[in-house]
Symmetry: C2
Subunit: 408 residues, 2 copies
């Protein structure tokens, strides 16, 4: 028998109610994380000592005093945001006098499956609590001791605010069967959010019997239009690719109009090369810069998550949209142009969670949207697209007030 | 090889664009239905001649000139509604100058699986088109000839408006494998809407690899509180149960406060009895009216969809909420009371798509909400709850306009 049915029932019974209590719990959890910092760091050191992962893996797993302080500050910032439940989404009255209100409500019990990144659990719990949800966390097994220590602090925060600690739970141990139980948790969990590598997310999307918000891939394009301002194009492309090449909003493919490529592609490539970027170029780009390595057939479908950029020369907006329609991942797509009509056309016709005009694709981030954080980015079409913050973790319902109306 | 991949790709390529064209297509489809009325009625007569269903089944299958006129009028009414895509859902500017817009967009390709009710296909297609979606319809096999005739009219409307007829498609024949293909249609369909009996909906919910909006059950309660106005309680309960006992928003269980039950339950029962209603009563109700049949253990979990009412005497709001929490179906729950504080408490704490104060549960209907119709009622927590009209068949995305911002 899985641990999940009992945990989920306890979580549902513990849905945190009033706005003030939820925010107090977030602040108290931040205090507890600071108070227990040495305990959490010791647990993390034990996790690190037991793992054989590579340097990048260990970096994601590692907590430092600075990172812990960031987690605590993030929880306090979340507490300071407006309550996403304290809104009226719509209100109207029908000719028969019935008064309708559409109001937000929590989604319920959210399952979060993620890799060995202890900060993700704390952030996810904070966002879920902010919107009145309960959360069941299942992080990577290598981070179990860190996750337990942070979880203890989150539960201390709930208790200090007079809320049930069952509103934030973690899987009891590293048993992989817990993931399977969560995937099969229809009726127990209202939503699953997987966050991690493509294999993890695709497994959850393929196997879950529970609704999923996620993105498996962020194959984002920046399209430099013929009317781009050259200096802006250079600065934005360099940032979109190289600020953090490993994030899902990083640009993976540069599309550049043939009209400006001879003049503009060389300095763009020079900027990126100076930042350590490599290239995979189509034949027309290699006509301009023959030393660029040739792109293979799969390169324009590859999310590099690394200091590599695919480059293609296109003949205007239609060609750019056609390329993105085939190779994009419905995540984030950007155009650089001074022509407002072209930009509006691009934004209207692009099928993506986020369309950007004259800025870096790396702005696809809940914090940059003003959401106070995010639990992930969603590229599906249902419920929420783009950064998933507290407001996206709400549902809604209708309240109708009458005076004895009956339906004819 | 299923017909679905090709059909879904054609549907996606045919997503109907501009508002004026979508509305023109709806009006032209209404014209075509009127023009082809004799053809559609003949097809329906052939369906009816070939079926051996019972009277209720035949009634749902049957089209009449009046019903056809109603379908055409419904499409025209849909065309007259505001475009659900022509809105800005939110707009804000961040301190770095990035200007954000959140705008609606179509969900995409919607699969509709329903029973042998030809009108449902036309209504569903109309609502989907209104919101810019394409739709693939799979109605009950007994209605295939009717569905084809109506489908021809819908496609004629699309053609006359200059839109691709591939935006409304039907499964090519009555092969049951088509349902299985739609359930497995991840990546082809963006949403499945099953509409019909509980077995159909539960099968779709259990097996679909595509997001589902639906309700399997409408086990709705009307709670007559101690401070109910007696005449209002009688009129509302009679309507909530007996206006149309077979709809999902019909009240299935009456909860009545012990304080008023001795005075109020007898006239409520008398009203309903005069309308042909039968009862299943708990022991406390039978103390007041010993002739009422005793409720069995499963009766308070039974969606009667018939002229039968479960009756239970409760001790106030907490007991009513506790009963509904165990036996409700997250659909529609009503309270009758003159005490506004109690009503607000009930509405705030009820977990249902629709909470109603002093009116009949049978108002849970897209038309009554002002949505111009509905493709079904959803009781899940994701994306949309309650009546699913055109607005509920939209998704959203973000557009960001900058002036060369890069992320630090």
């Amino acid at each position: 028998m899985s641990w999940l049915p009992e945990a989920a029932a306890a979580a549902r019974a513990a849905l945190p109610g009033a706005s003030a209590a939820r925010d107090a719990a977030l602040r108290a959890a931040a205090d507890a994380i600071r108070r227990d910092a040495n305990k959490i760091l010791a647990a993390n050191a034990a996790d690190l000592a037991a793992t054989e992962g590579n340097a990048a893996f260990r970096d994601r797993l590692a907590l430092t005093p600075t990172r812990l302080a960031g987690i605590a500050e993030g929880l306090e910032a979340m507490a300071a945001l407006p309550d996403p439940l304290a809104r009226t989404l719509a209100a109207w009255t029908r000719p028969n006098g019935l008064a309708f209100r559409r109001i937000p409500c929590p989604l319920g019990v959210i399952g979060m499956i993620y890799e060995s990144r202890p900060n993700v659990g704390a952030e996810a719990a904070g966002i879920a609590l902010k919107a009145g949800n309960a959360v069941i966390l299942r992080g990577g097994s290598e981070s179990l001791q860190s996750a337990r220590a942070i979880h203890a602090a989150m539960q201390a925060g709930l208790r200090e605010a007079g809320l049930s600690p069952a509103a934030v739970q973690i899987a009891p141990d590293a048993d992989r069967a817990h993931v399977a139980a969560m995937l099969a948790g229809a009726g127990l969990l209202d939503l699953l959010i997987p966050r991690g590598g493509r294999a993890l997310v695709e497994r959850v999307q393929a196997e879950a019997r529970v609704p999923v918000l996620a993105h498996a891939e962020g194959l984002c394009h920046t399209y430099v239009h013929a009317a781009a301002q050259p200096a802006m194009a250079r600065a934005v492309v360099a940032n979109a690719k190289m600020r953090r090449p490993g994030v899902c909003g990083a640009t993976e493919t540069l599309l550049i109009d043939a009209a400006v490529a001879p003049a503009l592609l060389p300095p763009i490539v020079a900027d990126l090369t100076a930042l350590g970027c490599a290239f995979r170029a189509d034949p027309r780009a290699r006509e301009i810069l023959p030393t660029l390595p040739a792109a293979g057939p799969a390169d324009f479908d590859t999310e590099w998550l690394d200091a590599v950029l695919s480059v293609k020369v296109v003949d205007g907006l239609e060609a750019a949209l056609a390329h993105i329609a085939v190779h994009g991942s419905l995540h984030t797509e950007a155009i650089i142009t001074e022509d407002a009509d072209v930009a509006e056309d691009f934004l209207a016709r692009i099928d993506a969670a986020v369309g950007i005009w004259n800025a870096s694709t790396q702005f696809c981030d809940g914090g940059e949207f003003g959401f106070g954080g995010e639990i992930g980015i969603a590229t599906g079409r249902l419920h929420a697209r783009g950064p998933v913050g507290p407001e996206q973790l709400t549902s809604f319902r209708y309240l109708i007030a009458g005076s004895g109306q009956v339906r004819p």
